[in-house]
């Protein structure tokens, strides 16, 4: 009696799924780019989506960034003062916020709030045949549903990051003042001498990339929904998780490239 060799089903199927997923994202991104270049989208829908995705995420982004600034300053201020390095507190808070935490946390919050909303909305449209209705009319679902959302994300995530940077740095100042009675001059002078405009600008570039990533993954996952409410829930979870992982990966890559 012969015994069949043990199969390794996960090895190639996992690779195939990855390639299929990456290819799907790239194809969708290509179609969105084509729509943008040919101005094949409704500006009013972009504004509507920007309001929905951006304004609705604003409170969470501000709160997240405020407490991040507070906690960095809380940890840094006491240590820095005890070593006589209080002139570096403002700089360290601003450095972390503007270059890394501001864009990244905004992207993560955006993935959880807006990315989930995009996927759930598109997923519901798929399972109720609304996306098929678009296709049956001869209308591209990517054009109508993904392009405006991706453009809205491209605009709103950097804007949210500006708020996040400001609130985070101010939060850091408040905690430094509260904890070690740091003077405004010491804190803000440290911020000014540490951060240059290109840091801020490059942080916004990262935020723009995160916005595109979140919208792209959310749109792609939304179109993969099947089987009713359970299917919509599954792709929504997957979109948020994938979006957050991609934000971490791209944040590292962008930091490597932008801040050599």
């Amino acid at each position: 009696m012969s015994v069949a060799a043990p199969r390794r089903p996960g090895l190639f199927s996992g690779f195939n799924r990855f390639v299929e997923y990456a290819g799907g994202l790239a194809t969708m991104f290509g179609e969105v780019c084509r729509n943008v270049v040919t101005l094949n989208f409704r500006p009013s829908e972009v504004i509507r989506q920007a309001y929905f995705l951006g304004v609705e995420s604003w409170t969470i982004v501000v709160l997240t960034s405020l407490f991040t600034g507070l906690v960095i300053s809380l940890e840094a201020a006491s240590q820095a003062v005890s070593y006589g390095l209080s002139q570096f507190v403002g700089g360290s808070v601003a450095f972390g916020e503007v270059r890394e935490l501001g864009p990244m946390l905004t992207g993560i919050v955006f993935a959880g709030r807006a990315g989930a909303a995009i996927t759930a909305s598109l997923g519901s449209m798929v399972v109720t045949e609304q996306v098929e209705a678009l296709q049956s009319m001869g209308v591209s679902a990517v054009k109508v549903l993904v392009t405006p959302r991706l453009l809205a994300s491209l605009i709103t995530v950097p804007m949210l990051t500006v708020f996040a940077d400001i609130v985070g740095v101010y939060g850091g100042y408040y905690m430094a003042w509260l904890r070690v009675h740091m003077s405004p001059y010491t804190y803000w002078h440290s911020v000014q001498t540490t951060i240059i405009f290109s840091d801020f600008y490059k942080g916004l570039e990262k935020a723009a990339v995160f916005g595109v990533l979140v919208a792209l993954v959310a749109g792609y996952e939304g179109f993969r929904a099947e089987g009713g409410a359970e299917g919509v829930g599954r792709v929504t979870t997957h979109a948020v998780v994938t979006g957050i992982i991609l934000i971490f990966v791209f944040n590292f890559a962008l930091s490597f490239v932008l801040f050599p």
């Binding site: 449209m125 109720t128 045949e129 609304q130 098929e132 209705a133 296709q135 049956s136 009319m137 001869g138 209308v139 591209s140 109508v144």
Partner: protein
């Protein structure tokens, strides 16, 4: 997948001009499951063809194959003179602009009002001025008996009214073919009659080709010029209504009589 081009017995045969849709030896598989098998059908221009059959027989799939939403794994499909089963997606979109589709569950965009739903294809597919769009929306809503309901959201309408709103969206772009997927399913007898009359009126007024999927026999007999019976993924009977009604095929007779005795496994 079998390549039909290399198959000696398969030769794609473009339909004559009076045929709006031709399915030729179509096979569609989802993995191992065969949904359609050697399925052939001609839908005459300006006629109403009804496809009847058991639940799960593949009726709705035929509509999706006919307008290019699904590609057959074998065989070919000609719609409005083009071999839609072989075209790239961008060219299929152009053909779909000439086809109206009324979905089983309406598929109305729930964030838009009825009028916005009906106007949607016009805004997306045409360069019409707003006044003309409004005029055509009003006319489409009147055609289905929904005048005055344009400002309501789909969720505020009854099932029958939602069906008719879906019909209005399907006809507003003046298509050459209208596909109706189970138009009377889930409706009470009165609303079923209203929907049946609405389809007849649409066909009469617009002189379009209608392809209707249904298993509601009284409705089918009222609207059909030709009937096709789909059984286990294959069209086993096709022809004018009297011919199908008098078919000697025991499967056809069992289905038409709604009997649980006969060759159809229950």
């Amino acid at each position: 997948m079998i390549d039909e081009k290399s198959s000696p017995q398969f030769v794609p045969s473009p339909p004559p001009p009076d045929v709006a849709i031709r399915l030729q030896s179509v096979e569609l598989r989802y993995g191992e499951k065969i949904v359609l098998s050697d399925c052939s059908l001609d839908c005459t221009r300006g006629h109403t063809t009804c496809i009847i059959g058991l639940s799960g027989a593949g009726k709705s799939t035929i509509l999706r194959v006919a307008n290019g939403l699904r590609r057959p794994t074998r065989g070919c499909v000609f719609t409005l003179g083009s071999e839609i089963s072989k075209l790239p997606e961008t060219e299929i979109l152009e053909i779909r602009k000439r086809i109206g589709f009324a979905f089983q569950y309406n598929a109305l965009f729930d964030s838009m009002t009825v009028a916005e739903n009906v106007a949607f294809p016009l805004y997306e597919l045409t360069d019409l001025e707003e006044d003309e769009v409004n005029e055509r929306v009003k006319s489409a809503l009147e055609s289905v008996g929904l005048d005055g309901e344009g400002d309501r959201l789909p969720g505020e309408l009854s099932g029958g009214m939602q069906k008719r709103a879906g019909f209005a969206r399907a006809i507003v772009n003046e298509p050459e073919i209208i596909m109706f997927d189970e138009p009377t399913t889930g409706l009470d007898p009165i609303m079923t009659n209203i929907i049946t009359e609405t389809i007849k009126n649409i066909q009469h007024k617009l002189k379009v080709t209608c392809l209707v999927i249904s298993h509601d026999l009284p409705s089918v007999f009222a609207i059909a010029d030709e009937i096709a019976l789909l059984f286990e993924g294959t069209i086993i009977e096709y022809g004018p209504v009297p011919k199908v009604r008098q078919s000697p095929n025991p499967i056809v007779q069992q289905f038409l009589q709604g009997s649980d005795v006969g060759p159809i496994p229950v």
